[in-house]
Subunit: 221 residues, 2 copies
Amino acid sequence: MMLYEVLNRRRDTRSEFTGAPVDDSALHRILAAAHSAPSVGLSQPWDFVVIRDDATRLAFRDHVNAERAVFAASLPPDRAEVFATIKVEGVLESSLGIVVGYDPRRGAPAVLGGHTIADTGVYSVCLAIQNLWLAATAEGLGVGWVSFYREEFLRDLVGLPAGSRPIAWLCVGPVRELPDTPDLERRGWRHRLPLEHVVHHERYGRRQTRDENEPAGSELS
Amino acid sequence: MMLYEVLNRRRDTRSEFTGAPVDDSALHRILAAAHSAPSVGLSQPWDFVVIRDDATRLAFRDHVNAERAVFAASLPPDRAEVFATIKVEGVLESSLGIVVGYDPRRGAPAVLGGHTIADTGVYSVCLAIQNLWLAATAEGLGVGWVSFYREEFLRDLVGLPAGSRPIAWLCVGPVRELPDTPDLERRGWRHRLPLEHVVHHERYGRRQTRDENEPAGSELS
């Protein structure tokens, strides 16, 4: 599949999983795609724990449900009503989970490019996740990133070493379809911003086009 | 370009920039690719500041050189010798810089999926960066992520608001070529790990294949 087509088709998937098995060679290709990501100082600080076991998935789903309730209770009534219609995970419906871990010891102590910014290793892990997500999309698989968990819980659940940190639980599997519009937008939780809002020229806040002859009115607030 | 071809061709670029201008429509496409990334609670917490101004680039390059010297001084002699051969930035040689910022206020206070893990917004920004990187690769542009800077310096340099955080300076522009092998590997800084080392089954550390009939000797340490 062409890159731009994949970028546009990719969705965060919760409701569309069929539960059909993931082909082993497709799983290998999406993990290899993740592993081909750039990383600070070539540290490759990621781990991928592939979860098929029902007991592990049930325990995680129950934990996520409890955290969902915590978040719901924090919302004002109108937002809680919208949130009630939103599915936040497909842990059991998907075919497998992939827990992505960050191991800061890889390449340590002197990670090239890591001395100024402690988080650069975490950044690398996220680049790998996006590679995985896009490859899965090209393979016709859905991916749903679950964020409603406490890191300590997930670390213990899959046995990550004390120094490592879970960055994501990804629900992965064949899907009936990939919707055109993000779920949160369809439910009215939040809408996508226009590109112009997030692009600035030379300094933050200069959102006008680069053509200096443009009238000042073209500047967005 | 096909997704898997892009994933394999992508490189972190420092030495290969030609300095030729970036086509405006290509720049628009790579920024749109970044903006199409998934984000926690559809918060889209990223900003992209496109830098062409020479004074800004010179100031940043000088800062990076100073941080390079700090890192070099921290290394044992044998590593310092390897490091001396490695180029860590192409700030002036590239056609433009893109400073990627993270704005935690977007979608706040109740970011769906953000109450458990404070860093989820940072993760989203990194996914956008990988989209940009892959789109640039498909457009025949190189991207080099510079990490040798202090966040406060870069925040002030491009005027990010106090609550925002710079995540990357990306050097972007046409390149003579994209090497097959990462620069750090060619210079002997570090080598890529086999995929099997970072893939685990059911629990961290279970690196054997999923076929239970495999001999125990196939397990990697």
